[in-house]
Amino acid sequence: MIKHLLKLVWNRKRANALIVAEIFVSFLVIFAVLTGAVTLISNWNRPLGFAWQNVWDVRMEFDLGTRENGSDELRATVMRMLDETRAFPQVAAAAVSDTPPYAFSTAMGSREINGKQVDLVLDNVTDDFAEVMQMKVVRGRWFNAADDAAHHQPIVVDTNTAAAIWGEADPIGQKLEEEDGVFTQVVGVVEGYRKDGEPSSPMNMIFFRMSPTGKYGRLGSSILVRVHPGTDPSFEEELAARLTQIAPTVSFRIRNMEKMRTNMLRTRLAPLVAGGVVGLFLIAMVGLGLTGVLWQNVTRRTREIGLRRAMGASGKSVNRQVLVEVVLLASIAMLIGGIIILQLPVLGAFAIVTPAAFTAGFLGALATIYALTVLCALYPSWLASRLTPAEALRYE
């Protein structure tokens, strides 16, 4: 039966080629949309590695030059601002960070470790950062004041970094070379940390300890403040006034992390939503077009169908013939599409999407295309099955 239908499909190859090509492109589009959606959803359900509620960000405006030349005086001023902030009864904890969560600023680096290139996201933070962001230490410990005496600059990595660099081995105590002969040493591992928030994929995070004395660590440009829940918003102005008073030369602004988060999510999601809407529109269009073409095919093949009916084929079997033909066309299109898509991992697609999302996108696209083509064929095939032999044969 299938072989016979394949022959029928082949006989009308010119008309069918277009349908196959169209389904092929739709398959690629649906694959892209679904893979994106699955990636987004699985990212969304992953723990963030920190808590953004009740956190304020005092963002100071140093320009690049000031910070690079990082005068001791400036560092002392920032540490004084940190201490003043902490002194308020409304404040639960405060810490300095260079590139805080949701801040649209990211420090990136890559290290060659054991001949393997590892991309890293970096931040310089003070000892209370873990408390402010409520991070979970899964191994070792977070920074503390005793680290001032450490020989190598202490770092904390997240579980992703630990896995990427040391695999199963215990990362605690491991050293990384920063510059020639200058090392950092791991003191702890925290839960996977995604500073760009819910939509972002896991990244390899490294926290460098910024020492209050200026021994090491780049001066961070944000003071992150965790306030007690229910703190009156007017406290913000009070804090701003106090900080202006003690550090008149530092320009800064205070932002609520909740607002920064909304902003980040909007910026990240807008293009995804736009892409999704365009994808849906394309699929709807293809669906309608396919229905039209199949309908027209049935009308054109009235005599062929009539002949089959006259020879004793039941309406049901005619119905099935139309459906199976469409499914065959879709299968051919997806065979081609599948071969192309399966090349993507070879080209390094897994650097962007996880194998799970890739597989889900692939299978989802398969299922969607079959469902879509069968749906489009339902009405035309029903029309075909309703034809009576006499009517069909007479049709001119």
Partner: protein, 416 residues
């Protein structure tokens, strides 16, 4: 003849309503996507107030300094633009200003989020803001670091409830500024023009910025005409080639160039360090945009072609009759192409109306702050051109197939 074709086309469209609907649905929504994208790009890149004169402006927005162990890409510092851009001889006027940065104000017990940009006096002479009251501050204000500011009408409403703001004051970053002028709000898409509050450069809290090669400044140059761009670029490149590094072990290579705003965006898109090698990043960006549009249009075109093929089948006997009476292939092809163009133009008109609605919605929800997207004649023209091209493209192949049909077969309602 054309008249006849059009009349016929309209009749055919009315006959199979489902097919007409499918075609129009595809065409109009495809055009909506393309036109909305075009309107947004147009809003970003076409000169408009307050950057009306930008067709003869080039500037420096990004520089890179690199060494063996990495480097920096970002805005130039004040010292760099002051020493390497300000002295350019062939410019009509040069302005130096900071990047806009977000700021927070506490005014009458309320928190106001805003954007601030620090500028010199020339900024106001190169850009053409629409002043609703008062006027800009001057270079003299900048030199003597007067605490004066220009604000937008939107800020005026937030600060003073819309009453006249002239001479009134507000506190920003701990200092009190006096309002010198109020301008109409500027869309955030204006890379140079956008801000909500403008203050003189020298009102910064410290003078540290004056010593920095890298920082958050930009400079724009108003040339006498576009023809002066190459001369200005050559002069600038020559000056930059004399740049000496303070610590050549750390940083020893500088990448800087004068760009139009579109070139600057293209460079940013391609990655700054790399794109300096290709002198013409705009070509690549244009190419990428065009390619994206072509990719997007593939599916709708294929869809339209297959629908068109189906429609022709239906009319096989009509074609057979015309062929039997001696109609040439060319006549048949042109008839069918005209029919298809009529269809796409109708679809284009629907698409145009829908685009206007979508853009109005995007503007209303302030997806992009202060930006009002609208369709203009240029976009309408491009849209229609696109619709025609779409129509011809998707009409020619089916028409050609049709015209090759044998009259006898066609009369019998035969197969293609």
């Amino acid at each position: 003849m054309i008249n006849n074709y059009i009349k016929l086309a309209l009749k055919v469209l009315g006959r199979r309503k489902f097919f007409t609907f499918i075609s129009l649905f595809g065409i109009s929504l495809t055009l909506v996507v393309l036109m909305v994208a075009a309107a947004i790009l147009d809003n970003f890149f076409a000169p408009q107030q307050p950057e009306s004169r930008f067709d003869r402006v080039i500037g420096i927005y990004t520089i890179g300094m690199y060494g063996e162990r990495g480097g920096y890409t970002g805005n130039p510092g004040y010292r760099f633009v002051d020493q390497y851009v300000r002295p350019l001889r062939d410019a009509e006027m040069i302005s130096v200003f900071s990047a806009q940065s977000t700021a927070v104000m506490y005014h009458a017990g309320r928190k106001i989020d805003t954007h601030v940009r620090r500028t010199d006096g020339n900024y106001w002479r190169i850009l053409d803001f629409r002043f609703l009251e008062g006027g800009p501050f001057t270079e003299a204000d900048n030199q003597s670091a007067n605490f004066v500011a220009v604000i937008t009408d939107d800020m005026r409403a937030k600060l003073y409830g819309g009453a006249s703001a002239l001479g009134k004051t507000f506190v920003l970053d701990g200092r009190r500024f006096r309002v010198a002028g109020v301008v109409k709000a500027v869309p955030i898409t204006r890379t140079v023009g956008f801000s909500e509050i403008w203050t003189p450069i020298r009102t910064a809290k410290t003078r540290d910025y004056e010593t920095q090669w890298l920082g958050d400044f930009s400079a724009i140059i108003l040339a006498r005409s576009r023809a002066d761009f190459p001369k200005l670029r050559a002069e600038f490149d020559q000056r930059v080639s004399t740049f000496t590094f303070e610590d050549p072990k750390r940083l020893n290579r500088i990448v800087a160039g004068l760009d139009t705003t579109f070139e600057a965006v293209a460079r940013g898109f391609l990655g700054h360090g790399m794109s300096q090698k290709s002198r013409n990043p705009t070509m690549i960006l244009r190419g990428v945009i065009l390619l994206a549009a072509l990719l997007f249009i593939t599916l709708p075109t294929m869809n339209l072609v297959s629908i068109n093929l189906s429609r022709i089948m239906e009319r096989a006997s009509e074609i057979g009759v015309r062929k039997a009476f001696g109609a040439s292939s060319r006549a048949l092809i042109s008839q069918f192409v005209v029919e298809n163009v009529v269809l796409t133009v109708i679809g284009g008109a629907i698409g145009f109306a829908l685009s206007a609605a979508v853009l109005a919605a995007i503007s209303r929800v302030e997806l992009v702050p202060y930006a009002v997207f609208h369709l203009n004649l240029r976009i309408f023209f491009y849209g229609m051109l696109l619709a025609m091209a779409f129509g011809i493209l998707s009409g020619v192949y089916p028409a050609w197939r049709m015209s090759r049909m044998h009259p006898v077969q066609a009369l019998r309602g035969g197969a293609l």
